[in-house]
């Protein structure tokens, strides 16, 4: 065969190799083009609402929530406003729609989301780089890029919905904030959440506070769970009208979320689920469950209540009710304590002795019998004639003694006393007959 023939065959073979070499592309545009289109669409949607967006932010579902307003423009700027620290971190910053594994929304410089993230050395949860989970005209869902959901931790998610012009004015929220606090314009000690017309009642406590270590804005709801009490912390957002739960909470079989403040009655009311759910201050606990009744005075330790010269006096004073402090001051005694399980010199075993000390009349005591009603209350029943045992001191301490030996007894809450030398375990006794007037702390003296 001639040389030219070999070349001809080779050429034919090579050209045949090219004959059907078209790549079938899945998309008709490059990844960059498709991303640019998506970015434009997302930017347009974010910038569309006339009054921007509002979201209620609660990092990792734990703390919060805080109302955060976003007003995006198409040039990559976002004005942010929130009720966290009364808007101390409000700012206009830049944002970026970017892509890594997913399309993400990055809040690029420091504002409220970062301020919350920084709590506890950047270890309090939260996020400022979000995967864009869904985008609709009326709703944008953003999901944390870095939360991994390990150890059951909730993944931070925020849902943006169009805001109204009024929502940009935070003053109504700031006005409402103190009204949610425990004890607002009420001297009743307990707070309950109950359903009108039913027996359903639970304990309710609002916890709010921020510092470098933690952020709290939750409703702690306690309820009987079998024989013991369980409690659930529900993140709360404050609204101009009242507050809302940021996680569904079921009471009496109905999910409740939004509460409105009733100024005339100083209560919060929800009509969700067709039932009237009320949060109010009360003279009785939402749930009567006080296991500390069993341990009070255990191990033969005496309990110091009021002792003017002790290093724990100030904290005990701080945590006792004003009526009780007034009684103590009126009595002019310097010390008041309870000694449990005391054995007298003649071998008589007393369940408890109440001691009063006065700089003139000295130290006197009167014995009482202790009755413990499991998980409910403790009652101190008179065993001796106090007038006889206390002598001249009785005239000064009669009112205190009567409070102490009231037949209704006391609820017992676990407590603690902070001193210069550390924190000591203690108990708070709350009068069942008159909890708003008589509450005092007794410390287990080391």
């Amino acid at each position: 065969m001639r040389f030219i023939n070999y070349i001809f065959i080779a050429l034919v073979l090579l050209m045949a190799g090219c004959s059907d070499n078209d790549t079938e592309y899945i998309f008709d545009k490059s990844v960059n083009e498709r991303f640019e289109e998506l970015k434009t669409n997302y930017t347009n949607t974010l910038a569309a609402p006339e009054n921007g967006w509002i979201a209620y932010y609660h990092p990792n579902g734990k703390a919060g929530g805080f109302a955060v307003l976003f007003d995006f423009d198409k040039e990559g700027n976002v004005q942010m406003k929130s009720d966290y620290l009364q808007g101390a971190n409000d700012d206009k910053i830049t944002y970026r729609i970017d892509k890594t594994l997913k399309v993400e929304l990055v809040f690029e410089s420091h504002t409220v989301l970062h301020q919350i993230y920084e709590t506890n050395d950047n270890d309090s949860g939260g996020e400022f780089v979000f995967n864009i989970t869904s985008v609709e005209d009326e709703k944008v869902v953003l999901t944390s890029k870095t939360d991994n959901g390990y150890n059951g931790e909730e993944i931070t998610e925020i849902t943006l919905v169009p805001a109204t012009k009024d929502q940009w004015d935070m003053k109504p929220i700031y006005t409402m904030t103190p009204k949610i606090a425990n004890g607002y314009q009420s001297d009743l000690y307990f707070r309950v959440i109950r359903v009108e017309g039913t027996d359903t009642q639970m304990g309710f406590s609002y916890i709010e506070g921020h510092n470098k270590k933690e952020i709290n804005r939750v409703a702690r709801i306690s309820y009987l769970d079998g024989e013991k009490v369980s409690s659930t912390d529900v993140p709360v957002a404050i609204t101009p009208a009242g507050f809302k739960f940021l996680k569904p909470f079921t009471i009496n079989g109905k999910e409740v979320t939004d509460f409105t403040y009733d100024e005339t009655k100083n209560i919060f009311v929800s009509e969700d689920g067709g039932q009237k759910t009320i949060v109010e201050h009360s003279n009785t606990p939402g749930v009567v469950y006080y296991p500390a009744v069993a341990s009070l005075g255990g191990n033969g330790k005496y309990l110091s209540t009021m002792y003017r010269h002790s290093y724990w006096f100030l904290d005990i004073l701080r945590n006792s009710s004003s009526d009780f402090k007034a009684l103590f001051n009126k009595s002019k005694i310097s010390r008041f304590f309870i000694d449990y399980n005391e054995v007298l010199d003649d071998g008589t075993k007393l369940e408890a002795n109440i001691y009063f000390e006065h700089k003139v009349f000295g130290l006197k005591s009167v014995a009482v019998k202790v009755e413990r009603i499991k998980n409910k209350k403790i009652i101190f029943k008179p065993l001796e004639d106090p007038a006889k045992e206390l002598g001249f001191l009785y005239a000064l301490t009669k009112d205190l003694y009567n409070v102490f030996t009231a037949p209704e007894g006391f609820y017992v809450e676990e407590s603690s006393v902070g001193t210069l030398y550390g924190t000591f375990s203690a108990a708070k006794l709350i009068s069942v007959k008159d909890p708003k007037a008589y509450r005092f702390v007794t410390m287990f003296v080391p």
Partner: protein, 314 residues
């Protein structure tokens, strides 16, 4: 015949190779479209472009980008209102003192000032509970941390050895110096030993001085030792630096045996630090042609101005 076949084979091979290059010539990937880059008009970017990029060829990253942090680390971005003030600080208290000592200082900065600065608002906190104060990478990028605490009236924020911004900046910049030029020959032989990760085990300042280092972190290895000496020398006042690290204490009045032993050991350590410092100053003079003492004096003058006036000169 054998030769003819060889020639034909060769010719075919050449043709085939040529065709490999030309075949399918119309099969270009015309779906690739490069991403669009639009130059930012943000005031921070405009300032950075004119004051850092055009003057020093340095890119400053201030917008959050998690590519610059490991997944196990946690930090937050810098406040955008602080980007220009921090950049002024970089110019006045980092670049300025070196450039003020003449052409050698200018050449030094032109050559070694990092190509990239990364600003972050907080420290970087790690899973193990420790935190990073700043870091230099690949001789080209320095990450500045805790910038949201910016406070020109706070000398500790500026110069404190445990995280002061200038102490960190000059420490990290010195890493870039040795990453490009190595440390002075013999520097690593002056102290008897380094502690490696043992520096974390409650090494006190006195423990470090006894070993001939100015801070516990310097006891880790010769590179950290070198960077700590340079940064302490530059940001501490002359009086404080010499009193703590150089001047031999008079021990003639000490009668307590334990105290005497302690002070003797500290004096030995100070002698080692003085020896290292002399080597460092000679190294800068011989390698780069300027006197580090002059840089320090200028730095102190500028620091006094900033702390007194709470601003940078226009």
């Amino acid at each position: 015949m054998k030769n003819t076949f060889k020639h034909i084979s060769k010719a075919l091979l050449i043709v085939w190779a040529i065709m490999l290059f030309v075949q399918c010539s119309d099969d270009k990937n015309d779906l690739y479209v490069p991403p669009t880059i639009v130059e930012s008009t943000h005031p921070n970017d405009v300032y950075i472009k004119s004051h850092m990029f055009e003057k020093y060829g340095t890119a400053v990253r201030w917008r959050w980008d998690d590519r610059f942090i490991k997944p196990t680390q946690r930090a937050v971005p810098v406040a955008d209102s602080l980007v220009i003030p921090v950049t002024k600080l970089v110019e006045y208290l980092w670049i300025g003192p070196y450039k003020s000592v003449g052409k050698a200082g200018e050449d030094f900065m032109d050559k070694l000032f990092p190509a990239e600065l990364q600003y972050m608002g907080s420290y970087i906190f790690k899973k193990d509970g420790s935190r990073l104060l700043g870091y230099a990478e690949a001789g080209a990028r320095i990450t500045l941390l805790n910038l949201n605490a910016y406070d020109l009236t706070n000398r500790d924020w500026l110069t404190g050895p445990g995280g002061g911004i200038l102490a960190t900046v000059h420490h990290e910049f010195t890493h870039i110096v040795h990453q490009n030029h190595a440390i002075p020959v013999g520097f690593n032989k002056i102290s008897e030993r380094y502690l490696g990760n043992g520096w974390l085990n409650d090494v006190s300042l006195n423990d470090a001085i006894k070993l001939g280092m100015v801070r516990n972190y310097g006891t880790m290895n010769e590179h950290e030792d070198f960077c700590e000496i340079v940064s302490h020398f530059l940001v501490m006042t002359k009086e404080d630096f010499e009193a703590r690290y150089i001047t031999q204490k008079d021990l003639s009045e000490i009668t307590d045996v334990n105290k005497l032993k302690e002070e003797q050991d500290l004096n030995k350590g100070r002698a080692l630090i003085a020896q290292k410092l002399e080597m460092v100053i000679n190294y800068y003079q011989n390698s780069f042609g300027f006197n580090l003492v002059e840089v320090r004096d200028e730095m102190q003058k500028r620091l006094d101005y900033v702390i007194t006036n709470n601003k940078f000169p226009e």
